[in-house]
């Protein structure tokens, strides 16, 4: 049964994982996402669906547990926040290199280092450019509401299994801690059959299954890398997700995701009240990045301003996408400071209307 609840973003993710029929969650506490593990422990999903929940000794162990479970063809997820995600990069590289599905939630906080527990978007590079060693990509989904926090868990698993690729839900401390109404989907049953590649025990009717990212033969290793790139191209062709706000007649375009995009919606209204024809493009998938719609809009607008809670990371992808067709600037706050709608309108004016 679908259910309407008032929940924190972190709790919504946890409940959505149970309802998505996840087989296991492995995690380690870190603010601002500890409610995910806390909720799962309190909710006893083992009794509800048989889902395994385990607090690992570290993020390193947690992501390697995800790797082990994913190799068995199971729906496995983990969550963490920035410093913890840095520790998970080794495991993520192995998971990508072994072509395994999983969902990883990053509730970003300000860095670098121990930084702050307040929200930020400064892990964009790490999320969309690979993050660990080797040429690989994660599928990156960026929710802007508690509803999307919940919805993207199920979508994440769907994409992860379809492409045999790790999926990251890139969100931040504001969305993780924010309470909103959320429609929760019906409980899905857990999978009963597993992909043919999974290590579930070699039966006499098939060859042994081996999950590895090792190939000492350079020619084979290159072939494998080319195959991965092929997959990423397919993702770019088929899985780009984005949203427009007031872009039909826009003269100036804001580009923002997640919390920043939510704030930019207000900025668009404020700008229009002042007579500035602003619009917003919100990438929902950060990889694959919505290059085409950006290119189309670049031909129509006089300037683009990216708004990110970082020193300017996504702005590089926007510039690459529009290929110098139009001026692209960046406005951002850091250290856990969330920009106000007014600041953003001012930044638009300062960059393009002086």
């Amino acid at each position: 049964m679908k259910e309407l609840k008032l929940m924190k973003g972190n709790e919504a993710i946890a409940e959505a994982a149970i309802r998505a029929g996840a087989d296991a969650y492995f995690g380690y506490p870190i603010t601002p996402q500890s409610e995910i593990l806390e909720y799962l422990m309190a909710e006893k999903p083992h009794e509800r669906t048989g889902m395994v929940v385990l607090q690992a000794e570290s993020e390193v162990a947690a992501i390697n547990m995800v790797y082990g479970g994913a190799a068995c063809g199971r729906k496995v997820l983990t969550s963490s926040s920035s410093p913890g995600i840095s520790l998970k990069q080794e495991g993520l590289s192995y998971i990508a290199g072994s072509e395994l599905p999983c969902v990883v939630v990053n509730v970003v906080r300000g860095g670098p280092g121990l930084g702050t527990i307040q929200p930020a978007q400064s892990d964009y590079f790490q999320a969309v450019k690979g993050g660990g060693h080797g040429d690989y990509r994660l599928i990156v989904l960026a929710p802007q509401s508690v509803q999307e926090m919940a919805d993207f868990v199920d979508l994440g698993f769907e994409l992860a299994f379809k492409y045999r690729n790790p999926v990251m839900i890139l969100t931040d401390g504001a969305l993780g801690q924010m309470m909103e109404k959320v429609w929760l989907q019906e409980q899905k049953p857990r999978m009963k059959t597993f992909p043919e590649w999974a290590t579930t025990g070699k039966t006499p009717d098939r060859e042994r299954n081996v999950i590895t990212s090792l190939d000492l033969d350079s020619a084979e290793q290159e072939k494998f890398n080319l195959k991965l790139q092929e997959k990423y191209r397919k993702l770019e062709a088929e899985e780009v997700r984005f949203e427009h706000t007031e872009t039909e007649d826009a003269e100036y375009l804001l580009v923002a995701y997640g919390t920043s995009a939510r704030i930019c919606q207000k900025s668009v209204r404020l700008a229009r009240e002042k007579g500035i024809k602003a619009g917003l493009l919100r990438p929902v998938t950060l990889f694959p990045f919505p290059k085409k719609p950006l290119m189309e809009l670049a031909g129509k607008v006089k300037g683009i301003l990216t708004v990110e809670m970082s020193t300017g990371q996504m702005v590089e992808d926007v510039r690459l996408a529009v290929e110098c067709k139009v001026q692209v600037e960046h406005y951002g706050r850091m250290g856990g400071i969330i920009p106000t709608p007014e600041e953003i309108v001012d930044a638009l004016g300062n960059n393009f209307l002086k």
Partner: protein, 264 residues
């Protein structure tokens, strides 16, 4: 002997005393001649065959010389990042509690980069088996010092011998995890003589049998040689091992049925 005598003329059904187990593939192992890894692999494969659990066994391989173990055992296997095998095996066992799950790890893997994963899997009492090959050195990367390298022992990164003042003491990982309540069976074995091979096989079998009891974790250390890393012939290496490794790493049971073995 006639000129065209082949192996088939010598090995006949009536005089066959030993055969390769069907759980080993036909691939030629890459290990240096005389290395203990090959023997340890064979014993694990034989136990899986003897217990008839090929479909129910899942192995996790290390980073180290045994990284390619999955080429030799005809079972489903997963290759783990350096040191992380116990975490990987934890998840596999939690999701498939009725399967037999083992890790196979060298001392660099288990006692250096993977210390945390090893100790915590042991402490949680994960119902898995850990096979720990202790050759006192990093074999795969060319003979560097390991946590298990003996005091005074030469390696490529302790070329004048391990100076414990500077480099720390050799670590008895097996004794260490035996102290943890989660471990059920902890033993140290060797594979350098026919008698020790038979004992090691019994220990490996015990580790698999223990999984049926769901009592906790079994860790079987096998003190082995690395003739390449030690820069010795296989015969010299085994002699050196018995004289130098066994006094510090004495073979024998350390914990049985969850209780430390008391030695007089």
């Amino acid at each position: 002997m006639a000129e065209n005598t082949g192996i088939k003329d010598i090995v006949k059904d009536e005089n066959l005393v030993y055969q390769k187990t069907s759980v080993l593939t036909d691939n030629v192992m890459h290990y240096c001649p005389g290395c203990g890894h090959g023997t340890a692999h064979r014993l694990i494969a034989e136990v899986i065959e003897d217990m008839d659990i090929q479909s129910d066994t899942l192995g996790v391989t290390p980073v180290g010389c045994a990284v390619l173990m999955y080429n030799y055992l005809d079972i489903d296997m997963q290759e783990a990042a350096h040191g992380r095998a116990p975490a990987v095996a934890t998840a596999i066992k939690r999701l498939m509690p009725d399967k037999y799950v083992f890790t196979y790890q060298g001392d660099g893997d288990l006692a250096a980069i993977g210390t945390a994963e090893t100790i915590h899997a042991c402490n949680r009492g994960e119902n898995i088996a850990i096979f720990f090959i202790n050759n006192g050195i990093y074999g795969m990367t060319g003979g560097q010092m390991a946590p298990t390298t003996l005091s005074g022992m030469k390696s490529s990164t302790s070329p004048y011998g391990r100076d414990v003042q500077m480099m720390g003491n050799p670590m008895k990982m097996t004794e260490l995890v035996a102290q943890l309540p989660g471990t059920w069976y902890v033993t140290r074995q060797t594979v350098h003589t026919p008698a020790s091979v038979r004992k090691a096989k019994k220990a490996i079998r015990q580790a698999f049998e223990n999984q049926k009891l769901k009592k906790g974790l079994s860790l079987v250390e096998i003190v082995s040689n690395c003739n390449s890393g030690w820069k010795m012939s296989p015969v010299e290496a085994n002699k050196w091992m018995a004289e130098n490794m066994f006094p510090f790493y004495p073979p024998g049971d350390i914990k049985l049925e969850g209780k430390l073995v008391v030695k007089e």
